[in-house]
Symmetry: C2
Subunit: 122 residues, 2 copies
C-alpha cells in the first residue's frame, strides 16, 4: 500500500502541488495551519487544542490563533465539550472537507502529470 518515489518524483510532485496550491487556494494558509487542518481532517477525532499542540509540537496559542483564522474561513469550528467544559472540541465543516478534498485532487492531478524527463538536478 505504501508508495515508492524516486527523488525527482517526490520533489516534482511537491513542487507542482505547491504551485497549484498557491494558484488555486492562495497564500492564505501557513505551513503550520496546513498541518493543523490536515490533522483535523485526517486523524480520528476528537481533537482538542491541547492534543493538537502536543501532536504538532507547538504551543497552545499557536493552535488557538490558527483556529481563529481557519474558523473565520469556515474551515473548522469550535464546540465546547459538555463532559469537561474546559475542553474545546474542534469539529470539521463542509467547507473544510471540500477544501481538503480539493487539495487531494491537486496532488493526484500533479502526480498523474509527472513528466517522463528527470526534472530534478540540484
Amino acid at each position: 500500500m505504501s508508495i515508492d518515489l524516486r527523488p525527482s518524483q517526490a520533489l516534482g510532485l511537491w513542487h507542482a502541488a505547491t504551485l497549484e496550491h498557491l494558484r488555486i487556494i492562495g497564500p492564505d494558509l501557513t505551513i503550520r495551519q496546513m498541518a493543523i487542518l490536515l490533522h483535523i481532517y485526517l486523524a480520528p477525532p476528537p481533537h482538542t487544542v491541547r492534543g493538537l499542540a502536543a501532536r504538532l509540537g507547538v504551543t497552545k496559542p499557536v493552535i488557538t490563533r490558527a483556529l481563529d483564522t481557519m474558523g473565520a474561513m469556515s474551515l473548522v469550528k469550535r464546540v465546547r465539550d459538555d463532559r469537561d467544559k474546559r475542553n474545546v472540541i474542534i469539529k470539521r465543516t463542509v467547507e473544510g472537507a471540500l477544501f481538503v478534498e480539493k487539495l487531494g485532487d491537486i496532488i493526484i492531478a500533479e502526480g498523474r502529470k509527472l513528466p517522463d524527463r528527470d526534472g530534478a538536478r540540484a
Copy 2:
C-alpha cells in the same frame, strides 16, 4: 513514469510530509517561499526576479522579499547579470541543495510509511 495516487494516499502523504517538514525544518518558510525555492532548484536556470514572479503569479516585491529571507538563510544567492546589468540571476547554493534534498527525503520516507488502512475520512 507518472504516479497514480488514491485520495487517501495523496492526502496522507501530504499530511505526513507536512508534519515532518515542520518537525525537522520548522515554520520558517511560507508556502510561497517554498514554491519559489523549489522552482529555483527544480526548473532549469537561469532564474530572474521577473521570471519567477510571472511563473508563480505574484508581484516582483514578493520575489525580492523572499530572496532577502532565503538569502539570509543561505538557501539562494543573487548575482548581477553582466550582459544586462538590470537583471539579477538567482543562483543555487550548497546549503539550498541540501535543504531541497532533505525535503525530498522526507517525502520519500513518508511515502514508504503510508499505512495500509484508509486514514482519510472527511
